[in-house]
Symmetry: C2
Subunit: 223 residues, 2 copies
DNA sequence: AATTGTGAAACACTTCACAGCC
DNA sequence: GGCTGTGAAGTGTTTCACAATT
């Protein structure tokens, strides 16, 4: 299934790991822009991002040669380029499903600061939650999900519903045209290929941390 | 620096990727235990966890031969073994720092259900938050951090404070003996090696999802 | 017959080292 | 001289394929 034809060499497959680092670079660059820094080297960017300079150069090179040898990268132009690559140069909307404690916290977190991806609507199944206002958005009943997604042009979704409801909601989100889901439910979502799911599971994270905390202890003090 | 001496063969380094999957297996096994299933094959476990059967067998084999060929794995004994490996066979406590919306949501999420890792104390810098009660725990001022960690024997911390405060708090946590930090602040923490940090950054996750949502779109409908 | 445990191959990602360019 | 861009080497992880075991 691999076709290493190097006809025009453009558009080789970009590693997922690279994609996940681009927003990190962008965040640093935006801070630099505020500080009116015009040029930055990969070494300095490495110091500020915690990613090695070789890695940074390689990541950026996948998309073309943005730097100037002997000089560095232009902060403003690189930031612009990264925003464009990520699709953040035009407004990107996300719907939030689930207005429990976690959902509410996520909505507030996202809307209080100015973020590249904005939550544009909030849904909940519970009639008791519908009508509540969270950071200027009124919680809507699930019925209007498809219509609102179409109307707002939202591409992403944040899923913060209880486990049992998650798969069903995910199906509707995909049907409605959502292409990326950030899933906080402790459920392995089944979605068609082409839809990207990012899983965040608090319990799992804590439990894997426990491994290092428990085992590692005896290494701290020898003897 | 590699010393592939196979003297006693035990204790080869365990891949981080493996450690992160163990809690997934454990979760499935615990559900199976409730359903009174006694034996499970790696193929069936694969179906239920979304991880391939070869991967499961390899992961488990790092810690010894837990299965029976031709039969499968004993659900109860494997669950017990995994809890022991992860250090979850005795109570594991976590302190939560930051009682904002996110921190509150995390505390409630964790304490409402019975989790393997339990939040045992909540701290906040803001005097207005101190004294609030969240799921049976009273929010304490940051001053008592070290003392409470020592008293409770907590090994883990959940960090949900604003970016600027994160590094300072992390330093105190490490000093106090915390060995794993789940960090929700948008900051790259500097910690001594031996302390494990797991970063969860909502904005970064959404922004990398945006890449697939934006680019992928034209592939959904051809022509 | 079924299923585990595991070397070997394949793949993914990072680091090294340096040629190329300003 | 300094810094980028990139093949090559190295490391980490997954998949394959099958011998071993019940």
């Amino acid at each position: 299934m691999s076709l290493p034809v190097d006809g025009m060499r453009r558009r080789q497959r970009i590693p997922e790991a690279t994609i996940k680092r681009l927003p990190v670079y962008l965040r640093v660059l935006e801070r630099l822009q505020e500080e009116e820094v015009a040029i930055i080297s990969s070494a300095e960017l490495a110091r500020k991002s915690g990613i090695t300079s070789e890695q940074i150069r390689k990541d950026l090179a996948y998309f073309g040669a943005f730097g100037t040898r002997g000089v560095g990268y232009g902060v403003a132009s690189l930031a612009r380029r990264l925003r464009s690559i990520l699709g953040l140069d035009r407004p990107m909307g996300a719907v939030l499903v689930g207005a429990g404690h976690l959902g509410t916290a996520l909505a507030r977190y996202n809307r209080t600061r100015r973020q590249s991806v904005q939550v544009v609507a909030i849904f909940d199944q519970d009639p008791g939650k519908v009508g509540q206002v969270i950071e200027d958005l009124t919680v809507q009943p699930l019925e209007g999900l498809e219509e609102t997604i179409a109307a707002t042009g939202a591409c992403l979704a944040i899923l913060a519903v209880p486990g049992p409801a998650a798969q069903k909601v995910a199906q509707r989100l995909v049907q409605a045209g959502i292409e990326g889901i950030l899933n906080f439910s402790p459920v392995q979502l089944k979605v068609p290929s082409g839809v990207q799911v990012q899983q965040i599971d608090l319990s799992l994270e804590l439990e894997s941390l426990a491994y290092y905390a428990g085992q590692g202890r005896h290494r701290v003090q020898e003897g």
